[in-house]
Symmetry: C2
Subunit: 236 residues, 2 copies
DNA sequence: GAGTGGTCTAGACCACTAC
DNA sequence: TAGTGGTCTAGACCACTCC
């Protein structure tokens, strides 16, 4: 039987499940030597594993077992990134990249039901899971909703936690998830090469089930980190 | 400036949007001649477009502009494949591949709340959009629920339409969507090469909001056909 | 400096499709 | 039979990371 790159990939895939997330995977050169195939064939096998989101490849560094976290989105789940990741056994962290008052894009203005002249506080944050870059989120909040919020988020604090501490009760009003080609500037910040498909979500949260609208968030999430699972209705 | 395969792909991508779905795209050989690059580089560009689901490649035949259909899944949408596709401007069709009485797998038995000894009618169907293979669905119904159903579905009839004609009012109770590596036997039936990620959905439908459970369906959907968009809550 | 993954070349054979 | 995409080889240079 001929050893194709698919067979190589399947063989590696079964051995990977016994390795710890983040641990090193055999390199292209090693693999080509071990199985007496060309480097391109060995490379094709590792790329196949990357397409299945089983490994993460870093130029100049190596190939590593992917750390995957189930990101379950359902009506009964809290609208918090950190809580959702922690529930799946991952260690989340957030870094505030930018914070400024801006005129919101039309879709955001409509979603938050703001007047045409209203401005918003826009927060840009990068999320990590177990120290690995994982998500890029942009949040718009009505300006004046929480003047002290930007200061409070300087550390690694959770936006949902801060809103709760301020006396709000954030709840999901609307949520959408799809897979889209990642925009160039997002790809750079998430250290993604090329233009692959990435999870793209948009959410609107309000104060309690019927109170005022609190914030709207757009997120791009690396699919080699998040196994997104969206559920409607109640589990059987 | 060096012409990389990414630049080639971007250039092709912008010209593709002016072409009709299903129309032929430049071949690997033509592309390599036109831009004076090796065939492997031209090939990499076309593979990049395939990863973005902009084209569909068929061995021995050629590369074609993908026919993409938005498949919106939301609480207010009817649980019907054909209705959902038609709403997005696609022409759906269904072919019954297999129909038989079987003991259901545990997850299905639990979902439909059946007794351990209960049997089900299992329908396997292949769905197409504009004549192109698009989905593989397996449906389990309590045996005896609708004795004439299998006969009625011999043609291209809609399961939801038939259930409605039989006096039922099918409604979504629960629905889950995620992306998974396609199993080998599904890949063969959907004419998918390799083991890429494919939409994987499971749904449970009942008679009206509170009536008896009607059916449970597992589906695998080609992502180069369906732009799946999942929504929770009501649109802003 | 050694090793890594990313890109590219110029060939080759294959299975398959369409005519 | 000609053309297509799928696989594979044996090289090469590059940018990058790690030590």
């Amino acid at each position: 039987m001929t050893v194709t790159y698919q067979a190589l990939a399947d063989e590696l895939a079964t051995s990977l499940i016994r390795q710890d997330p983040g641990s090193r995977v055999v390199s292209e050169n090693e693999l080509s030597r071990l199985h007496a195939v060309s480097r391109l064939t060995a490379r094709a096998a590792l790329q196949e594993l990357e397409r299945r989101h089983l490994v993460r490849r870093v130029r100049g560094s190596g190939t590593f077992v992917a750390r995957r976290v189930e990101y379950r989105i359902a009506a009964d789940m809290p609208p918090s990134f950190q809580a959702t990741v922690r529930r799946s056994g991952g260690m989340p962290s957030m870094r505030l990249v930018d914070s400024r008052a801006v005129a919101p894009p039309p879709a955001i203005r409509t979603g938050l039901k703001l007047s045409p002249a209203a401005k918003t506080l826009r927060l840009t944050r990068l999320g990590s899971v177990d120290g690995l870059l994982a998500s890029h989120t942009t949040t718009w909040l009505p300006l004046g909703l929480a003047p002290t919020l930007a200061d409070r988020l300087g550390g690694a604090a959770s936006l949902m936690q801060e809103l709760t501490d301020l006396g709000f009760d954030p709840r999901r009003r609307w949520y959408r998830a799809e897979m889209d080609v990642v925009p160039v500037h997002i790809a750079e910040e998430l250290e993604i090469e090329g233009r692959p498909l990435v999870w793209h979500t948009t959410g609107l949260n309000g104060d309690g089930p019927n109170g005022r609208l609190l914030e709207m968030t757009e997120a791009w999430m690396r699919p080699d980190v998040f196994q997104v699972r969206l559920e409607l209705g109640s589990a059987p």
